[in-house]
Amino acid sequence: MIAVEGLGITRGAFNLSAITFAVPAGSYTILMGPSGAGKTLLLETIAGFYPPSGGTVTVGGVDVTLDPPEKRRIGFAYQDYSLFPHLTVEGNVSFGLRMAGVPSRQRGETVQGLLARFNILSLAGRYPGALSGGEKQRVALARALGTRPVVLLLDEPFAALDSDTRSSCIQEVKTLQQETGLTILQVSHARDEAYLLADQVLVMDKGVLLQSGRPSEVFSRPAHRTVASIAGFENVLEGTAEAAGDGTNHLIIGQGTLVADSAPKTGEKYFICIRAGDIALTREKTGKEGAGNWIDGQVVSVIATDLGSRLRVEGAFPLTVDVSRHLAPVPGFRNGDRVVAWIDPRDVHLIPVPALPGGEDR
């Protein structure tokens, strides 16, 4: 496992402060955040490339904060895999063993094993320049695992691959991790990678860790505006909680109101997050009346999508709504149509707006 406590670092324009988290042994953690959030710098600092300004890094129970990279038992792969271009695939994979002084014969066996494990035996004599993206990734993984690291750090390993290669590489890494029980910390900017791979997601921005948890938790219940944006909520509105008269509170958004399942505090301001696919559209109120939020509006734009259409509805407040052809087999909505949107209170997610104007996650 790997644990980071109160880690800080200043480097050029970047500034990470008091980063604390742990990646349990055998688990997969994905680190997300907008570009410029400091994700790569955090990985590099954990690997020991830069001196931290404070805090500690523990790898496998050993405090390595002041150790040079070669003493940390960390495997590292950059986005472009950083294979050594002057060494063959075999030379790359055996590099770590050579540095560790493993005798030539023993090294040969281990390397053959690694090449076989990653199905790259036939590439042994090739140079990295002649490999495809997927092959490079396998070589990089074989090389990193050759030294039996305690933890593997991966910096956006799938970002540069075309979509077909990408899915198969993600699958390979997932299988590898499940079979070997590797501990992995990976940077990513794609939500699907987190859903596919991660036991834990960390979201950071501007050098600060904002939220962590299981992917489905973090993405369905973001605690910060930035996290909501990474979680892909199409509708993020701003509103204020007020007493509704029936003892509960509802939210005032522009001219309209909305009921949420969670209990907002009177007078507090909230970001109100609703997914476009969680809103149902009908021509008029149906029997469900009273069971949720009904919002009258007018369709102002309709755009086809793979499975239906995306509508922009203007009413008391604007809404983006995805209509699946499976959900709405009625004749399609058109520009100018009067519609009613229904929103389940359980699908209305609230994030308190930070008290200070211009606070760091607005």
Partner: protein
């Protein structure tokens, strides 16, 4: 293909208006080569006599050996300097860079004066080194000293460029694979900069063997090729100095060609390796 699109008629990108004035300079250089080569090739006897002249042969030997010695000294001291410069990001780095560039911008006789003042028998370097038995004035070590001084920026800048192109990420990854700083430099950085190191050595060598002013000011003798050409030129032997110049250019071309063949595959990595 329709006739309308005959390539000859699409003139959107022609550069002829730029090539015409530009060819003045290229023409001067071509003429300069011809003006040496044609008279020599028209009078092969002088060429043969010059090639067999022991003074000429000795000058070639002195020049080339001094050049290689200078490059060796640069490799030992300039390579670490180039690496340190390529991996440093401190504000004082530009001061060091400016200092390294000074021999490049100095007038040749000023460089010669400096080398003389430094390495003459009472000089701050020539004095102590003289006590160790190294004499510079009118001696082989003086030629080497002059050559090293004027070639520093050629070597250091080329090699620094090479190190700069080795991604720090590769060094970082090598460290995580268990390589210490020193082993990373030897196993990763140095091999990847081979091409630039060889190129820097070639540039520095070319600059070194061509130096005239700095060499003659510390050590007119033993004669280097540059000095010999000048000496024959001023003593009325234009045809002879043409022949020496021709031989020098020829020899350098052969050496450069051999160098290119030998290093063609240096720093190139693909499946044919």
């Amino acid at each position: 293909m329709t006739p309308a699109a005959a390539p000859g008629r699409f003139k959107g990108r022609s550069l002829i208006a730029f090539w015409i004035p530009g060819m003045v300079l290229v023409g001067i250089i071509v003429l300069a080569l011809l003006v040496i080569a044609i008279p020599v090739l028209q009078n092969l006897e002088i060429l043969a006599a010059t090639a067999a002249d022991p003074v000429v042969l000795h000058a070639f030997l002195v020049t080339f050996v001094a050049g290689f010695t200078a490059v060796g000294i640069l490799a030992l001291t300039g390579t670490p300097l180039a690496y340190a410069l390529s991996r440093t990001d401190a504000p004082w780095k530009s001061v060091v860079e400016t200092l390294v560039d000074i021999p490049l911008v100095l007038p040749h006789t000023v460089a010669g004066l400096m080398v003389y003042l430094l390495f003459m028998s009472q000089g701050p370097l020539g004095g102590p080194l003289g006590e160790l038995g190294l004499t510079f004035e009118d001696a082989f070590p003086g030629i080497v000293a002059a050559m090293v001084f004027v070639s520093i920026p050629y070597y250091v800048n080329a090699v620094r460029e090479g190190f700069g192109r080795v991604p720090v990420q590769l060094e970082n990854v090598a460290r995580t694979l268990g390589a210490s700083k020193g082993r990373t430099f030897i196993s990763v950085t140095l091999p990847l900069a081979t091409r630039h190191i060889l190129y820097g050595a070639l540039l520095a060598w070319g600059r070194a063997i061509g130096e005239f002013a700095a060499v003659i000011m510390i050590a007119y003798f033993p004669l280097v090729i540059s000095s010999l050409i000048y000496y024959r030129f001023t003593t009325g032997g234009i045809a002879e100095s043409q022949a020496i110049a021709f031989l020098l250019i020829l020899l350098c071309m052969v050496l450069f060609f051999v160098f290119r063949v030998l290093t063609r595959r240096a720093g190139v990595y693909d499946d044919r390796g």
